[in-house]
């Protein structure tokens, strides 16, 4: 019970952090954290299939893609303002 409450609090906190932080890199890292916590929540809800998919696709692959996109944006910005 305590674990579930902590999990819900952490989920909400990481979601708010993802949406409100001005730094894109931080937002992506928070998004990955959110995905991993979400996978835990699915596992707690007895849905291990969705937990697996969420951890692998939601947190892993999407996170890698978003990090790549952020790196591209930074590079572009640096090239535009020398």
């Amino acid at each position: 019970m305590i674990f579930d409450l902590l999990l819900v609090a952490a989920l909400l906190w990481s979601a708010v952090q993802t949406l409100t932080t001005p730094d894109l890199f931080r937002a992506v890292v928070q998004f990955i954290v959110f995905g991993l916590l979400m996978a835990l929540a699915w596992a707690r809800l007895d849905a291990p299939d969705i937990a697996l998919a969420e951890a692998a696709i939601g947190a892993g692959l999407t996170g890698a893609l978003l990090l790549d996109a952020v790196a591209h944006l930074h590079k572009k910005r640096r090239e535009q303002s020398p």
Partner: protein
């Protein structure tokens, strides 16, 4: 002005949230009890795990459309006008520690993908999860500098991307003769599902890895 707008948006969003929550609480109880139906028919499905039975047998066309959508998304990415770098694209890191670790990890990830695929028949697992692990191995290999990005996929790669959907459609067409879409004959269901899932895993792994490996090569050059 700005604050007024923010407050309005906040108000509308919370109103929408409250209404949605209230509506969900107000929904009538479902008339058909699906879990019981699935359990009752599980023996006919060819697999023991209910989730795989639903995904690959009872509602197989959902999965068929899912793989079609993913393939379509990758085709869309490939169709975008891209600036493929003319010099051999170097991966961001050529760290020897990372490379050695990746060389050890990649075969293990392949093994895990195979296990997750096989486990799908009787416990949580299946094609999508196995494909995601394969894709993860691909991305890791690229990041370690061992796998070049896909500038233009060759013939073999294209065949691998399409094989999942093609096998699925071939099975569906072959079974059309008996009148129902994707209704596996009794006794054959397990083997057909394994065949479809194996090709789906390969295609999904390549497609999901492709999202990363194709996009990461298309650097806009100034």
């Amino acid at each position: 002005m700005r604050t007024l707008l923010n407050v309005t948006v906040l108000f509308l969003a919370s109103a929408l949230g409250l209404v949605l929550g209230w509506l969900i609480l107000d929904l009538p109880v479902a008339a058909v009890h699906l879990p019981e139906q699935v359990t009752a028919l599980l023996e006919m499905s060819g697999v023991v795990h209910p989730v795989t039975a639903v995904l690959l047998n009872f509602r197989g066309y959902d999965t068929l459309l899912e793989i079609a959508v993913l393939l379509l998304a990758l085709l869309g990415i490939l169709a975008l006008p891209r600036h493929v770098s003319d010099h051999q694209h170097r991966s961001p890191s050529a760290n020897p520690v990372l490379q050695t670790l990746t060389r050890v990890l990649a075969p293990l990830m392949l093994l895990v993908a195979g296990y997750v695929l096989w486990a799908g028949a009787h416990r949580p697992g299946g094609a999508f999860q196995a494909g995601a692990v394969l894709a993860g191995a691909g991305v890791l290999l690229h990041l370690a500098g061992l796998l070049p990005a896909w500038a233009t996929p060759g013939r073999t790669l294209r065949a691998g991307l399409a094989v999942g959907l093609l096998v699925f459609i071939a099975v569906a067409v072959a079974l059309m003769a008996q009148g129902t879409l994707l209704q596996y004959p009794l006794g054959w269901a397990g083997a057909l599902i394994l065949m479809i899932e194996a090709s789906l895993t390969l295609s999904l792994g390549l497609i999901l890895a492709g999202f990363y490996l194709v996009l990461t090569d298309s650097r806009t050059r100034v």
